[in-house]
């Protein structure tokens, strides 16, 4: 009984890192990255087997339930994606065809990248799907960070377990690891550049590595980022997708 009590006290101490619980830290991360709306020009650099393929895009989003992306690189020009709540559609201009991305398609890499459609669909608010505890403190490229362990609380979470390295000063995820239920490492993410946008720290250059594939990574770059931009509701509709 005494041993259990001591173990519980240690766990409690670990989960209240210097007065902040893991949930509070995660809430601040969520708050920092939460936005009413966002508008940006983006670039996806898909590195595979030593070669790099670049996709460019314009994107608009409101909260984490509505997003609209239009690809602008010559090979994919006019290809669009619409996310509305839990639904995702793609429009292919050459065939004038709209396809709902669902079922097994959600596991595929988005436009050949290491980011799956499922990743793209997942809510940014980690607290909604995971419980958190502080494992330890570490330095990530010179920046002190808490290492949070996140465990899925809902079956719709994309990963069973995640580790997140949270910048202690800026409350931004500096690094992440995503695990399957079997314990296998599936993906790794790193924030390569964090910028202050409108008083908030936001990762504008992020790398995702799919550990199930060899010699591959995707770097996602946000340019011309505008937070809380005014976006008309009509942007997020089937009519706009096929316009």
């Amino acid at each position: 009984m005494k041993r259990i009590l001591i173990a519980s006290m240690i766990a409690l101490a670990a989960s209240t890192a210097f007065g902040q619980s893991a949930s509070e830290i995660l809430r601040k991360v969520d708050d920092n990255q939460a936005f009413q709306s966002i508008e940006y020009t983006g670039r996806m650099e898909i590195v595979l087997g030593g070669e790099t393929r670049v996709k460019t895009m314009k994107a608009w989003a409101v909260g984490d339930s509505k997003a609209f992306v239009e690809f602008t690189n010559p090979e994919d020009r006019g290809t669009r994606m619409l996310k509305l709540d839990k639904n995702l559609w793609m429009y292919f201009p050459k065939e004038q065809d709209t396809v709902k991305i669902s079922g097994h398609l959600l596991r595929e890499g988005m436009m050949g990248s290491d980011v799956s459609y499922e990743d793209a669909m997942e809510s940014d608010a980690l607290l909604e799907k995971y419980t958190a505890s502080v494992l330890r403190e570490e330095s990530v490229e010179g920046r002190p960070a808490w290492v949070l362990e996140l465990k899925a609380t809902v079956p719709t979470a994309s990963y069973d377990r995640r580790l997140v390295w949270v910048d202690k000063e800026r409350y931004v995820s500096l690094k992440g690891e995503m695990y399957a239920r079997s314990g296998r490492l599936l993906k790794e993410s790193r924030s390569l550049e964090v910028r202050n946008v409108g008083g908030r720290w936001y990762p504008v250059r992020t790398e995702m590595v799919n550990k199930l594939r060899k010699d591959t990574r995707t770097v996602f770059v946000l340019e011309d980022l505008r937070l809380d931009a005014r976006i008309p509701e009509s942007r997020f509709s089937m009519a706009e997708l096929t316009k």
Binding site: R53, K94, Q96, K100, S102, H104, R107, S237, A239
Partner: protein, 386 residues
């Protein structure tokens, strides 16, 4: 297969008589879109396309005779798009230079009524043992006006109905082209009005009057999400050319990582009598680096409803494997189960660069064009996008 889109006898038989009448109107409107003062400043213009070259060797056997041939096809496709706040216009055309067996097959098709789509322009002298053929057609030429979610599209466009991969009985307006390495859809001349029913559903009316409005096809359709996850549509149509009413619908849903889809259309003669059902059921899934899909197609209307697949029972299957970085191996097969006819294709696609790739293929088919012959073909195709 002789070319990506041209020249197989009996392959590209238009369901709707093509009429180039609307095309010049669409092109004129496209030009007006730029010319209107003010609109030009807000519009964005893009020009893109692709250059594809294909070369192949074929061998065929029919009874006691056997023979070999080779051919090539070079296709240039260009698409010009203009987009403004409420107006969008698109003009897309392609031209192909066919040589050897490709040219011969085109000439043979041109000699048959409906063997080559009526919207295809080709070099004179095709019917007199041409060794090369230059053919061209307009893929799409339309203007789309959108406001408050409502839209009107006029001109040659691809009206995508149905969920099937190889077959979609409910796809009333778009001709499918099986001559390439993947199934392609042809545009049709139509006027389309779309009305939003909320963010995720719509109702629409489509009219494809052809050269004689009495011979045209006219449809009403409602499509959207049902119960939040099922994707489906209902269609009612009048096909003047066949003098029949058509009712149908399609559905797509997922069970875990299995996706199912189905299409069905029932055609009833205006004068009464028994109607014909055509239906498709299919699924697709993925596991690891493999993607698998299959379809079963029931054609109750025979050659009258589907001249390309007149048999009652047909099947399609495809399996692709991402074998290595930038390399995909795929196998697909189409079969008329009743007549024992099939066409199987093995492709190896190499995604060589951001804007281009190389595909080599082997194809084996029997019973082509109603004969007892076997045909084998090996080819290579490269494509550059710009």
């Amino acid at each position: 297969m002789t070319s990506r889109r041209y020249g197989r006898g009996g392959v590209a038989r238009p369901r709707i008589a093509a009429d180039a009448g609307l095309v010049p109107v669409a092109v004129l409107a496209l030009l007006l879109a730029v010319a209107v003062p003010g609109a030009a400043q807000e519009s964005s213009w893009t020009l893109g396309g692709s250059l594809t070259q294909q070369a192949f060797a074929a061998a065929s056997e029919s009874g006691s005779s056997a023979g070999g041939s080779y051919g090539s096809a070079t296709t240039l496709e260009a698409t010009l798009r203009a987009r403004g706040p409420v107006l969008r216009a698109e003009f897309s055309a392609e031209a192909a230079l066919l040589a050897g067996a490709s040219a011969e097959a085109f000439a043979a098709a041109a000699a048959l009524p409906g063997g080559v789509p009526t919207d295809t322009l080709y070099s004179p002298g095709v019917l007199s043992n041409a060794e090369t053929v230059l053919a061209a057609r307009v893929r799409t030429a339309f203007v789309k006006w959108t406001a408050e979610g409502f839209s009107v599209t006029a001109g040659r466009q691809i009206v995508n109905y149905g969920k099937g991969t190889a077959w979609s009985p409910v796809d009333l307006f778009t001709e499918r082209d099986f001559s390439g390495l993947s199934v392609a859809r042809r545009g049709s001349d139509a006027l389309r009005l779309t009305i939003p029913l909320g963010a995720l559903s719509l109702a629409e009316a489509v009219a494809a009057p052809a050269s004689d409005p009495a011979e045209g096809t006219y449809a009403l359709r409602a499509a959207g999400l049902v119960f939040g996850t099922l994707e489906g549509s209902l269609v009612g149509a009048w096909n003047g050319g066949a003098d029949e009413w058509i009712g149908g619908g399609d559905l797509k849903f997922d069970l875990s990582w299995l996706s199912f889809h189905g299409d069905a259309a029932y055609a009833a003669p205006r004068g009464g009598g028994s109607g014909d059902l055509r239906a498709v059921l299919g699924f697709d899934t993925s596991f690891g680096d493999f993607v698998l899909g299959a379809e079963y197609y029931y054609n109750g209307s025979g050659a009258a409803g589907d001249p390309l697949f007149p048999g009652a029972h047909n099947a399609y299957a495809a399996l692709s494997w991402s074998a290595a970085d930038y390399h995909t191996l795929a196998f697909s097969a189409l079969a008329d189960l009743e007549a024992g006819l099939f066409a199987a294709t093995l492709t190896w696609a190499w995604d060589l660069a951001q804007n281009g790739g190389l595909t080599s293929y082997l194809r084996l088919s029997n019973g082509q064009a109603g004969t007892e012959s076997w045909t084998g073909q090996a080819g290579v195709q490269w494509e550059v996008k710009f």
